[in-house]
Amino acid sequence: MAMEMTAGTVQTQNMTGALPLAEDGVPIKMQAQKVNVHYGEKQALYGVDLDVRKNNVTALIGPSGCGKSTFLRCLNRMNDTIDICRVGGNILLDNEDIYDQRIDVVELRARVGMVFQKPNPFPKSIFENVAYGPRIHGLAQSKAELDEIVATSLQKAGLFEEVKDRLDEPGTGLSGGQQQRLCIARAIAVSPEVILMDEPCSALDPIATAKVEELIDELRENYTIVIVTHSMQQAARVSQRTAFFHLGYLVEEGKTNDIFTNPKDQRTQDYITGRFG
């Protein structure tokens, strides 16, 4: 089984050269096709089709309860943890259906990492927070290699300089913004391809928010990012593509520049200009 998984992963990586292209020529990393989600009797998403472009930041916006977080959680099967949740349709990662029986969910979540609204470091040291993932995924062969992964991840998350002298102190002792960057470092440590962020800045002050936004922009070079945000300005600032959800439907998806200057759908217009919510 483990051998099969490894083989499957290698094959997927070989296929990245042949990702389908969006109409603007950007490779599509993840594809949602007619995604329906039910929580018990209640339908939360209706036939969502969305392409997530590689090395782009895609922002999901919409009023509370519109389904954007539900959709985000479909992308790495976080909804599997909710018993009454049923997901229909297809979600492809590198052309491969992530809801396929053969997919190892743990493996999937290493490839599609997640950062949550509230920073949630483990009650362990800063070092252990970052080292945990690589260790359980067997990414490091030696202590030196693990040290290297931890240092690089913290550097990529823009946190290394601030914590390098106190890696053995608890992660929970950091400030909110630092904790969130620690969580990003933790997500990066397992070399994901896609990072999902669910309102990563809503618990942070403006300075910490700016640092995380700057980080998102840097991470885009190596990762594909999908971010749910309630801050319209944040969506406008950090993303290249924006998708607007309303009442479980994907109303409009397009270039962020277009969505915020000239949205096509009246509902998008009304929402982003603060006319309903």
């Binding site: 200057t261 000239n262 982003i272 200009t273 603060g274 006319r275």
Partner: protein, 233 residues
């Protein structure tokens, strides 16, 4: 369009729009008065017009400050943002229209008592009427958001350009006939040019309204230059 959840944002935008309408009204009056002063040799009216232009400048400065304040406080997007930028740009055009009227008034004072050609007067008057119609039509369109009216204004500017070209030729003929006409004709030529520019500002305003309402740019196929323009290498 429905109202903002934050009602004071609505009021901000309405305030900008009403300031534009007010500026537009004043600009129309200034043009009309300046042309009357020119045609009727009314130096007093010319003086009052020059004075009134300062009010228009003040209104423009105030509107600009309001726009910056709204942007800073509300971070507007989409149509709201376009409305604010349209207000900024339209107010600029209206302020320039006021400058044109002021310039015509100054020339009216300069050529007072020297302006005795019925035919030239008619030519200037006709041009001015057209320009004022354009200004009125485009300001109405600002209130109604009528894109068809906007496109018509945009297309009609050619007529003013054509009149200007013909008036230019007439003035040249006058100057050649009798050098004593040159001072008067030179002033009139500038007046005509000013009126032609007022038409251009109306066209600019039309373009801004089109963008404000639709989010797209008005397709530009209108030849920008008049026939008196010199081709520089």
């Amino acid at each position: 369009m429905s109202d903002h959840i934050v009602s004071s944002f609505n009021e901000d935008l309405k305030d900008l729009a009403s300031r534009i309408v007010e500026m537009g009204g004043l600009a129309e009056t200034l043009v009309s008065d300046a042309v009357q002063a020119l045609l009727r040799k009314d130096s007093g009216l010319a003086e009052r017009t020059i004075e009134a232009d300062r009010r228009l400048d003040e209104m423009q400065t105030q509107l600009e400050e309001r726009c910056i304040l709204v942007i800073a406080r509300r971070q507007p997007v989409a149509r709201d943002l376009r409305e604010i930028f349209a207000a900024l740009r339209i107010s600029n055009d209206l302020e320039r229209v006021g400058d044109m009227a002021k310039n015509i008034s100054k020339r009216a004072q300069a050529i007072e008592g020297n302006f005795n050609s019925k035919q030239l007067a008619l030519g200037v008057e006709h041009m001015a009427e057209l320009a004022m119609e354009q200004l009125k039509a485009v300001l109405d369109a600002y209130t109604t958001g009528d894109l068809e009216a906007v496109e018509q204004v945009h297309a009609r500017d050619k007529q003013i350009d054509a009149l200007y070209t013909s008036l230019f030729r007439q003035l040249l003929t006058y100057m050649m006939e009798d050098p004593r006409n040159i001072t008067m004709c030179a002033h009139l030529l500038f007046c005509a040019k000013n009126i032609e520019r007022i038409g251009d500002h109306a066209t600019n305003i039309a373009e801004n309204i089109y963008y404000m309402v639709s989010g797209d740019h008005l397709p530009i196929d209108r030849p920008k230059k008049d026939e008196t323009d010199v081709d520089l290498p």
